[in-house]
C-alpha cells in the first residue's frame, strides 16, 4: 500500500515538473514584446506597432520608420514655402544643397551642368511645392521617391482614362480642402481650374529624373498617393531592420507585416454610414488595406455637405460610390487605387481592378450595393447592416 502511494507521488511529481518546464516552452510566443510608436504626420494620426523578442531592435526600427515617413511628408507637402527660383546658368548646388548632392550618384554633377535648365530641390524643401512653383518655368530634378510616386500616378491616369489625376491641385485649391476656404466654387472658376488639370502635361524625364508641369498655374496634389507611399516605405524599413510582425495604421491606411502570432491580422472595414459599425472584417498577411470614403473629410457649405474626393473630370465630388477599400501588398498602390477606383463607375472599377494582379476591392455604391472581388472570398467576414444589398459578385 505504502509503495503504491509513493509511486503515485512520483508520477504526480513528474507531471508537475513536466508542466513547469513545458508551460513556458509551450507559450514562448506569448513572451513576444510589443513596441508601439505614435505620431501626428501628414494630417493624420500614425501608429506603428511592432512585435518581436528584442525591444531595443523594435524601438530603433520604429524610430527609423517614422523618420522615413517624416521625410516623405516633407517632400510632398504642397503648402510648404519655396525658396525663390535660381537664375538659369547659376550653379545648381550652392552651399547648403551641396550636402544633398553628395548622396547623388557619382557623375551626376556633370549631368547637372549639362542640363543648365534644370532646377533642383534644396535640402529640406518640399519637392512638390517646388515643382508647382516651377510650373511653366522649368523642370525640377527630384529624388527617387517623388519620381516613383509621380510615375505611378501617371500610370493610373492612363489606366483610369483620366478619372484619376494627380494634377488636380488647382481644383482642390478652389474647394479649399486643407485650407479654411468655405464656399462652393463658381462653375466658371471650376472650368478655368479644370483646364489646368491634365497629367499629359506633366512631363516625367526618366534620364534626368525631373518633373515639368508645362502650363503655368498647374499644380500637383499628392493627397491620394503620399500617405500610402510613406506607409509602404516605413514597412520596408521595419522589414529591413529585422521586424517580422508589425501593423502600421496611418488614419485608417493599414499595412501589416507578417502575421499576428500565427494568425492573420484582423482589420475591420468601417461602415460608411455608421461610425460605430463595421461592414466587414479582413484577414491580412503581409499586405495593405486602404479605404477611400465620402465620409472622411467633409465640408459643410450652406447646409449641404461636400466630400474631398473631387473628380478631375467634373470638378465636383464624385457621387457614384460611398466607400472603396483596396487590398494589395503595396500600400502606396492601395492608397492611390482606392481613390482612383472611387472616382470610377462601379462596373468600370471592377473591370479595372480585375486586370491588376494581387489586388482585391470592396466597394459600396451610393445606393448601398456592395461589390467585391472574388479574391476576397475566405479573406473577409461580412458584417454589413441590413440596409446594404449585395450586387452580383464578380468572377476573377
Amino acid at each position: 500500500m505504502k509503495k503504491r502511494y509513493s509511486t503515485l507521488l512520483v508520477v504526480m511529481g513528474i507531471v508537475a515538473v513536466l508542466l513547469l518546464v513545458g508551460y513556458p516552452l509551450f507559450t514562448q510566443r506569448a513572451i513576444l514584446q510589443n513596441y508601439t510608436g505614435e505620431e501626428f504626420l501628414m494630417d493624420t494620426f500614425v501608429s506603428i506597432s511592432t512585435y518581436g523578442t528584442d525591444t531595443a531592435l523594435l524601438r530603433e526600427a520604429t524610430r527609423q520608420a517614422f523618420q522615413e515617413m517624416r521625410r516623405i511628408a516633407e517632400l510632398t507637402d504642397r503648402f510648404a514655402t519655396v525658396a525663390p527660383e535660381r537664375a538659369t546658368g547659376e550653379p545648381h548646388n550652392p552651399d547648403k544643397a551641396n550636402a544633398s548632392n553628395k548622396e547623388q550618384a557619382p557623375g551626376s554633377e556633370g549631368r547637372d551642368r549639362h542640363n543648365a535648365d534644370l532646377d533642383t530641390v534644396p535640402t529640406g524643401e518640399s519637392a512638390v511645392a517646388r515643382i508647382n512653383a516651377m510650373a511653366g518655368i522649368k523642370p525640377v530634378r527630384v529624388d527617387k521617391d517623388v519620381f516613383t510616386m509621380l510615375q505611378m500616378a501617371q500610370e493610373y491616369h492612363q489606366l483610369t482614362q483620366g478619372a484619376f489625376d494627380v494634377t488636380i491641385g488647382p481644383v482642390m485649391d478652389l474647394w479649399g480642402f486643407g485650407q479654411e476656404r468655405k464656399q462652393v466654387p463658381a462653375p466658371e472658376e471650376l472650368q478655368a481650374a479644370l483646364s489646368l488639370v491634365d497629367s499629359k502635361d506633366m512631363i516625367l524625364d526618366e534620364e534626368s529624373q525631373s518633373v515639368f508641369l508645362k502650363k503655368k498655374g498647374m499644380s500637383l496634389d499628392l493627397g491620394a498617393v503620399a500617405k500610402g507611399y510613406a506607409v509602404e516605405k516605413a514597412a520596408q524599413i521595419l522589414e529591413k531592420a529585422g521586424v517580422k510582425q508589425a501593423i502600421i495604421n496611418a488614419g485608417g491606411n493599414i499595412r501589416v507585416l507578417g502575421k499576428k502570432e500565427e494568425q492573420p491580422w484582423k482589420v475591420g472595414i468601417q461602415d460608411p454610414r455608421n461610425p460605430e459599425a463595421l461592414i466587414g472584417i479582413l484577414s491580412l498577411t503581409d499586405e495593405s488595406a486602404v479605404t477611400s470614403g465620402d465620409y472622411q473629410r467633409v465640408k459643410e457649405i450652406d447646409g449641404k455637405s461636400y466630400h474631398h474626393i473631387i473628380s478631375p473630370l467634373t470638378g465636383y465630388p464624385a457621387e457614384e460610390n460611398i466607400s472603396v477599400t483596396v487590398v494589395t501588398p503595396d500600400s502606396g498602390r492601395a492608397d492611390l487605387l482606392s481613390t482612383a477606383l472611387f472616382l470610377m463607375e462601379p462596373q468600370q472599377a471592377l473591370a479595372l481592378v480585375e486586370q491588376i494582379p494581387d489586388t482585391e476591392m470592396f466597394l459600396v455604391t451610393d445606393d448601398k450595393k456592395i461589390f467585391y472581388t472574388s479574391g476576397l472570398e475566405g479573406k473577409i467576414e461580412l458584417t454589413p447592416g441590413e440596409e446594404y444589398a449585395y450586387a452580383k459578385k464578380m468572377a476573377d
Binding site: I254, K266, E276, L278
Partner: protein, 132 residues
C-alpha cells in the same frame, strides 16, 4: 483475492484522472473569469502621443471631461458605454462630426489638437485596426 503489485491501481487511475479534470476545470474557469474582468472597457485619452487619461467605462458611466489638447481644450462625453467628442475648437470639426464610438479598436482623432480617444482592446480575438 490475489493482490498483484500493479504500478497504478484502478483507484489511483481514478484519482489521477480526477486531479487532471479538476485542474482543467480550474484552468477554464480562471480563463473565463479573466475574460469577464476585461470585458469592462477601458477608455484612453492621448494628447501628442502621451496618455493623459485612462478610465473604466461601464454601461452606467456617464461623464463629461474637458481635456487640454495641444492648442485648445476639447470636451469628451461618455454615456451608455460609448463616448464622443462633444465640443472641440478646430476648423473642420471632423472629430465632433464622427459621433459616438463604442467598441475596442475604434478611435476618434482630432488632428489640430493632437488628441486621440479610443477604447482599449483587452481581448485577444479583437481587431488589430480599422480601415476607413
Amino acid at each position: 483475492m490475489l493482490m498483484r503489485k500493479r504500478w497504478l491501481t484502478k483507484a489511483d487511475t481514478r484519482l489521477l484522472i480526477a486531479v487532471i479534470l479538476l485542474s482543467l476545470v480550474a484552468y477554464v474557469m480562471i480563463k473565463i473569469s479573466a475574460g469577464y474582468a476585461s470585458a469592462e472597457k477601458q477608455a484612453v485619452v492621448e494628447v501628442s502621443g502621451k496618455i493623459v487619461r485612462q478610465f473604466d467605462v461601464a454601461e452606467d458611466t456617464a461623464t463629461r471631461m474637458t481635456i487640454r489638447g495641444k492648442t485648445r481644450p476639447t470636451t469628451i462625453e461618455v454615456q451608455k458605454g460609448r463616448m464622443r467628442v462633444l465640443e472641440a475648437f478646430c476648423p473642420d470639426q471632423l472629430c465632433v462630426k464622427q459621433g459616438w464610438i463604442s467598441g475596442p479598436g475604434q478611435s476618434i482623432v482630432c488632428v489640430p489638437n493632437e488628441l486621440v480617444i479610443y477604447f482599449q482592446d483587452n481581448d485577444d480575438s479583437g481587431l488589430d485596426g480599422i480601415t476607413r
